[in-house]
């Protein structure tokens, strides 16, 4: 197939990728957008397979079949609550693929004794660097989210020095690859060093900071593809890679802003590792524990009810129970909405996906800016499995680790019901005065069990 035709097909695929992302601007158009993206990918792969440089198809077909089988199995079997792990894993595979392709291109250039140019060698080094960091970084994130390794940040003395040393080593290896591209071994050494950097960069980051890490790794997987595009002189790779890179960077920014922390603070802060502050004095004698029946009585007369989900809802798989309760309240004439903090859960949009799975209409899912003005006119706010994102200390205590973080103002609603297993602090390790507020009732229980008890009590009435 002539090069012009191939490049034209690549242009078409690039345009389809842009349409795919454009479609994501509304739930109605998103399905079609995703299908257009898949079509773009199909076209791109199809014309590539017809490339005249290809001499044998067995290996390609074997790889495609194996990869498709694993990918399809993962995509169809994964539970919605485990979506952050899935995305982390996919990020990692993307990074690994880019690093391998750049390595293969380098090996091929050496084999053919073709001349090296600076663009290619620099891009190859960057592919290896970003690809390796993405691959191992994503595997560590996956391990933390799947709880194969502790989700607490691993902090040890001298870690900043070690990180700096490994980062410098990586920079030195990049320079070495650019100076001596004919030594393939240097590329593998760079890849090994970048893998170590990936582990070190993510191991010190705690579970609740994962939304930032996954967004950042998402961006890296795009930038790795982009660097590979510079290696292969392929514009489609560059376009697709930069789109993904931009997407990940935007999400990273949104997540950092929602926590009022800089990216550097998230990456190097070891946030959440400090000993939890004592909460006894705030809580002493002020916490009111209630049962499902009391909450049901409260809800029976409520005009407007807000649900505020957090990671705890995902852990206890409570989304379906929450949806049943919300529907029941609506049938009784109450207005129901869901207030979702940008960093609730373990990845951007995590709560929205769980609630969509449970058939909650997306019109009821309110962003923080939409939800906050509604709380003063809300009769009951039910906080389920969220903690730091509703902690009023963020507004009142400038010395608090979460000072200035935008929060959901549930404390302004008439009554707040907090469903939580204990008074233990959230990720930030600080007590939450909301739990001891005059208008707060605590329901100490597992999320799913608690909601089911409320539903049961409401039915009895």
């Amino acid at each position: 197939m002539p090069a012009a035709v191939i490049n034209f097909a690549y242009l078409l695929a690039s345009a389809l990728f842009i349409f795919a992302l454009k479609g994501m601007s509304h739930p109605r158009t998103a399905v079609r957008g995703n299908l257009l993206g898949a079509l773009g990918m199909f076209i791109a792969v199809l014309v590539t397979v017809l490339d005249r440089r290809i001499v044998s198809y067995e290996i390609i077909v074997a790889g495609l079949v194996l990869g498709s089988a694993i990918g399809a199995l993962l995509a169809l079997k994964i539970r919605m609550t485990a979506m952050p792990q899935m995305v982390a894993l996919l990020n990692g595979f993307g990074g690994a693929a880019s690093a391998l392709v750049a390595g293969a291109a380098l090996a091929e250039t050496i084999h053919l004794r073709a001349p090296f140019d600076l663009q290619m060698t620099v891009a190859t080094a960057l592919s290896g660097l970003i690809g390796g960091v993405t691959f191992l970084g994503s595997l560590v994130a996956f391990g933390k989210l799947q709880e194969l390794i502790t989700s607490a940040p691993l902090v040890f003395p001298g870690r900043h020095a070690l990180n700096a040393f490994v980062a410098l080593l990586n920079a030195a290896m990049c320079v070495a690859v650019v100076m001596r591209p004919e030594e393939l071994l240097l590329y593998w050494a760079l890849l090994a060093a970048s893998c170590v950097l990936g582990v070190l960069a993510t191991i010190g980051i705690g579970g609740a900071d994962m939304p930032v890490v996954i967004s950042l790794l998402n961006s890296y997987s795009g930038l790795a593809a982009c660097a590979t595009g510079f290696v292969l002189q392929n514009n489609m790779l560059i376009i697709a890679g930069s789109l993904v890179g931009a997407s990940g960077i935007i999400l990273t920014q949104i997540m950092c802003k929602a926590m009022n922390r800089s990216l550097a603070n998230v990456l190097f802060g070891g946030f959440g590792a400090q000993a939890a502050a004592k909460g006894e004095d705030i809580y002493a004698g002020k916490v009111k524990a209630v049962s499902g029946e009391e909450i049901a009585m409260l809800l029976a007369n409520a005009q407007r009810v807000a649900f505020v989900p957090g990671y705890g809802m995902a852990v206890s798989q409570a989304q379906h129970a929450v949806q049943s309760l919300a529907r029941m309240l609506e049938e009784r004439g109450a207005e129901v909405f869901f207030a979702i903090h940008p960093v609730a859960g373990r990845m951007p949009g995590h709560m929205n996906v769980l609630l969509a799975e449970a058939d909650v209409p997306y019109e009821q899912l309110k962003e923080m800016d939409e939800a906050n003005p509604l709380f003063p006119q809300t009769d009951v706010s039910i906080v389920i499995g969220a903690n730091d994102v509703v902690n009023p200390l963020a507004r009142t205590d400038p010395k608090s680790p979460i000072a200035g973080m935008p929060i959901l103002d549930v404390d302004k609603s008439r009554t707040v019901v907090v469903i939580k297993r204990s008074l233990s602090p959230g990720f930030a390790g600080i007590p939450n005065p909301l739990f001891a507020a005059d208008n707060t009732l605590m329901f100490f229980s597992d999320g799913q069990k608690a909601i089911n008890e409320i539903i049961h009590a409401l039915k009895e009435m």
Partner: protein
């Protein structure tokens, strides 16, 4: 050098397009956005296919094969799981 500048132009413009398009995505769809954009970053697959198919040396073939597997997991898994999620948003 001239070729590099052209490529760089495409890169910079694509970043701008990316920023414009992505800022319009509502927070509700941020998870499908991540998995969907992830599938798109599996575009590396085209490079992997060439490496696996040209068979210059055993090494490039092995690397190509591994890259095809990884990238295909990324592409197929990414688009499928995104579709699964988006269907849940759509059916209301």
């Amino acid at each position: 050098m001239e070729l590099f500048v052209t490529t760089l132009t495409i890169f910079v413009l694509a970043i701008f397009v990316g920023f414009e398009v992505i800022t319009k995505v509502p927070p509700t769809l941020h998870t499908p956005l991540m998995s969907g954009s992830n599938a798109i970053s599996g575009i590396t697959l085209v490079g992997a296919v060439i490496s696996a198919g040209t068979q210059h040396t055993t090494l490039t073939t092995v690397l190509g094969f591994l890259a095809v597997v990884f990238a295909t997991i990324n592409v197929v898994g990414g688009f499928l799981v995104t579709h699964r999620m988006l269907e849940m948003f759509k059916r209301k």
